[in-house]
Symmetry: C2
Subunit: 259 residues, 2 copies
Amino acid sequence: MEKLIFISNDDGHAAGGVNQLAEMMRQYGDVFVVAPDSGRSGASMSISSHSPVRNTLIRHEESTDTKGSLTVWACSGTPNDCTKMAFEVLLPRRPDLVLGGINHGENCAVNAHYSGTMSIALEGCIKMVPSIAFSSGKTAEDADFSYMQPYICRIVENVLVNGLPTGVCLNVNIPDVNEVKGIKICHMGMGDWHEEWQERDHPRGGKYYWIAGYYAPYDPSDTGSDTWAYEHGYAAITPLQLDMTAKSFVDKAREQFEI
Amino acid sequence: MEKLIFISNDDGHAAGGVNQLAEMMRQYGDVFVVAPDSGRSGASMSISSHSPVRNTLIRHEESTDTKGSLTVWACSGTPNDCTKMAFEVLLPRRPDLVLGGINHGENCAVNAHYSGTMSIALEGCIKMVPSIAFSSGKTAEDADFSYMQPYICRIVENVLVNGLPTGVCLNVNIPDVNEVKGIKICHMGMGDWHEEWQERDHPRGGKYYWIAGYYAPYDPSDTGSDTWAYEHGYAAITPLQLDMTAKSFVDKAREQFEI
């Protein structure tokens, strides 16, 4: 049986990133995309608990001597809905690999928590399939992500052979630079957003707000963080785990709270 | 200055849980609620990157000799938008405590990843304020959550005095039982959902799906998990940390991927 690679994203099925990633992956086997019908940036691991979800087949290309088949579905739900829908309803068999991306824009540091791209890898992780999220410093709709191909292929080939520990997935962020300096394994950087809301006047009265602002690390000199590696020209791989238990606080918490 | 307690939820500002929690908290100081204008279950840490966000003042009650003031705003965005909006636009000063809930329904185990209630505590954590999410096994719209009050107050009083480590928040799940057996400090249980989609026929043709199904732990005998404690009648406190780095995989990942 051919390898099967499942891909989704949060920029929508028509985005350049997901289509370029799908083409890169066809050398490894069949590629199956279920992606949102439009952009869902910042969707995190949200699910459509209050609205019905529909799927539309966008296209199917048969395999050739040199590449696997390609199937693309659009889904009206969130990125996480796409992954859940794929596993239970749309995929022809259990995939060997789950990929999110390529996201138009980075998802370093705590921003992985907000990221729909990351949610795909985390959901793949819950479903116990090796999972990776790829994000790029390039944000343009017509961005060319081919500069990422050597790094993406190195990581994918390794994971297809060696797998990943259960409950662990990779958050990969590759900056928009002429020459990527190398690959660094990092920890999740910590920081916060500032000036998060832009106020506007509605033409018929009243105020409304757009979410915006800028991210700043708590500690810009945290050289082991993904933000630092990314900002210094490295492809940053942050291994993330599903289990968020604050193990270092458990003993203290027992003293403090248990009855 | 009075203590200021910020509360949001994912069931909306009109839900019983958030209003009962707000009343419980007025003994400690001023209470400020910014909650979604309707239900947003399963919103995770999503933000409204594609739609504008509006706020509406629902009510304000002045403080009395025995309790702090109460202010309630409805926000058209996600639970995480509510927290971000509160901190930057609506709150009169930096809060001493951030609370999510009381959620109508539990948020144990990996389901914390999907939870809008949990997102409030995680965002509070990003903003470096001690933060707690409260969820109940009761799901009815008219549920009476007063049975939770002794546990909620014990936890809140402790956190108001001792704080929480930076980057750590609490996920508290209290089952719907006649007598809560005690408080247990737990780790995040691991598991997955099954039969996640229910198919329906649209009256004008075509299929659509509702997300549904049931959650099952990978290992039901994991007695240290929040799911186990909750299902055995305990109030389960799971300390969660923002930093999802899979530290145990970092060295191996260096060998495997770095160039």
